[in-house]
Amino acid sequence: MPRAPRGSGSSQRPRAEAVPPRATAGSRPTEAPARTLDARRTQVVAPSVSQESTVPKEGGATAPRFRIFIVDAGWNSVAHKVLVENFALIRDLQKDDPIYVLSREQSIAFQRRHGTRIGRDPIIAVHDLAAMDESGTTDFHGFRLSLGLLRTPQQALQGLQAFARFLVTHRRSTDLEAEIRADLRREGLAGAIEIILHHEAREMGE
């Protein structure tokens, strides 16, 4: 169910804060060596020289539209394994947008502050920088995928694929909120049809 409609947007995110990180976060080296989970726990990586040279111009083809955050406390779950196994591909597909991976400690601290999120991780939160520049965080400003709620490898993989597909196909959207809600409605309708068809099929099989 879509949540409450847009509010007043009174606490707009200051542009001055938003612009510099966007400018520096737009591109990341793709040839970086593999790091382990332990490595990411303490990792603080400064932007490389190559990042400076490839900073996209405002409105350019590679200007970051989103900031992607991955919160994962490291449960021994199917979703965690699927994310780990497919992260490189996700990162390559989302080259234009910075991905921030919270360390295990940061993820745990985050979930201790927000207990309702426990067990839903890995959570992939996507902040829509365009929406945040426009109306801060009081209105629609992104979306999240609670990958941890998907119980089978196939579901988790499909969730990740849908996530990547959505980001790539909607990164130039002028009204992301409407498109997300439309997609959710479409999925809901598809689910309803599936239920009805399944019911009919079962009756026919009897």
């Binding site: 169910m1 060596p33 790091r35 900031r67 955050f69 490189a88 910075p98 999240r144």
Partner: protein
């Protein structure tokens, strides 16, 4: 009387079937929105905390090739 009973039973079963479909659709809709959801004013605090971590430099764009 048996005909009326049969009609009532058919109606009851039909209502149960419709009720089940409505319940199942609602259940799946809720699950879908648990998995995918938009960020809005209810998530403002979480978003602000993540953005603050970026502003403070506690989080940097991930450059590793893999997570583990």
């Amino acid at each position: 009387m048996p005909e009326r009973f049969g009609d009532i039973l058919t109606l009851l079963m039909g209502a149960l079937a419709v009720g089940y479909v409505v319940y199942e659709i609602e259940r799946r809709r809720r699950k879908l929105h648990d998995i995918w959801d938009v960020l809005d004013e209810e998530d403002a605090l979480l978003t602000a905390q993540l953005e603050d971590m970026v502003e403070r430099g506690e989080l940097q764009p991930y450059t590793g090739a893999t997570l583990a």
